[in-house]
Symmetry: C2
Subunit: 233 residues, 2 copies
DNA sequence: CAACCCAATCGTCTTTTGCCGTATTTTGCA
DNA sequence: TGCAAAATACGGCAAAAGACGATTGGGTTG
């Protein structure tokens, strides 16, 4: 946990867009500017000032308070995020790519994984994918240093990303938003339509990326895809 | 490498003594205030002001420049440190403790490992040790978040620390200096008297810790200690 | 021991931060 | 569609940061 704080603080300090990085983490933790400002006993506009980079080089004291605050607030709310981060700390590999031999229409893909579309369904007709990548949400957010997001898209960027281990899909979607490369489709595993986070849906819509939910066990999904048309690695 | 930068930046940002943390990293990288100030095109006194915490909350711009600078300067000098850090990134375990069944006079210990004392030799007569811990220098500096230094001293603090994988012994000695708990003896492995870093010796002297060098292969050292009086774990 | 290097201290200056309060805009939703 | 909630925008002000340069204080080394 202390480790994670260091990582976040470092990311903010070295970011070329510190405000946006702070915002990203605030959103990953699901905290509004107002709640954060109340906790820190400063006005909400101050938070906004930081997130919009009005202060070009905030002091480390601010960063320190900020990081402590998002952790403390999460803890107050039950420690959901922090616990999830802690859990996904092991050393198992954290993504699994399956490349297809030929392209697959999005709608067929969704059928194969028993998925339901909750955003941008109208775009599905024009999307073909060439592979999927299955990721541990928390690991992505923890261990992806921006650039290396590229690795996720092995041969093509025309891929679906399947996020596992997510509570409501908010954090991984925020990560997708700030990442430089976008997937063709995002799938949230182990969620149904009613349990998807609203912010996640909103981000998907503004990014123009179809968002799918599925409850089908991950091993079955892997098996189905590999059997049908996969060349795994 | 980018990862390491993030870690350092985060450590500085969250440190309760940011100046000291900056100083630690500057020294680990073996850079003088003057060289750093020249690189950054600011006066040396400014560096000193930061390290003495005259500025209580330096901006992230300063931190960013600082971290970039120590890496860039190291690279100019051949990239020694950065390469070492990169190498010791694997997931092998990074320390190995051997606890003795009974105490061992320092001088006998030194004889067993074919060591030579290069600092505070006069204190050796009054030191008995109860175990040794063998550590990968770079890993220590990377992965030790201050407090957890405690783990290194399994049962007793009356231990010798043997640092492996060090170029001249500077970095691990700096780490010892800033750590809250001190070992009874420090051994630099794979170094002889002439190749020890001067700053390392100076730190040892000011800390009052005897500093030993040895060229004996690490496996032989382990074997000798375990055979004679060890209860490994 | 003078000459030098490295680091620490401090007065002083200008530029920014850090914060507020008060609009104003955007967004979600009944 | 219209209103509350959330996020932005911005002028202003006190307090700090960020920087310099002159000075002082240890060490080492010719």
């Amino acid at each position: 946990m202390e480790q994670l704080k260091v990582k976040i603080a470092g990311e903010i300090a070295l970011s070329s867009d510190a405000g946006n990085t702070m915002k990203k983490w605030r959103e990953v933790f699901g905290i509004s500017q107002i709640d954060l400002s109340e906790f820190l006993k400063i006005s909400p506009s101050t938070i906004s000032d930081y997130e919009s980079n009005r202060r070009k080089s905030p002091g480390i004291a601010v960063i320190h308070r900020f990081v402590d605050a998002i952790f403390a607030i999460d803890l107050k709310k039950g420690g959901e995020l922090v616990r999830r981060f802690a859990e996904s700390d092991g050393s198992q590999k954290y993504f699994d790519a399956i490349d297809f031999k030929k392209s697959l229409p999005a709608k067929e893909f969704i059928k194969m994984i028993d998925g339901k579309c909750v955003a941008n369904a109208e775009k599905l007709d024009s999307i073909d994918i060439f592979g999927v990548t299955i990721l541990d949400s928390m690991k992505i957010i923890l261990e992806m240093p921006y650039e290396s997001f590229i690795k996720v898209y092995s041969t093509t960027t025309q891929r679906a990303l399947i996020f596992t281990q997510t509570a409501a899909g908010r954090s991984p979607m925020v990560a997708v938003r700030v990442a430089p490369i976008k997937p063709a489709i995002v799938v949230m595993h182990d969620l149904d339509e009613s349990s998807v986070d609203k912010l996640a849906v909103k981000i998907a819509e503004s990014e123009g990326i179809p968002l799918i939910v599925t409850l089908k066990p991950i091993e079955e999904i892997k098996k189905a895809l590999k059997d049908a048309l996969g060349v795994s690695n």
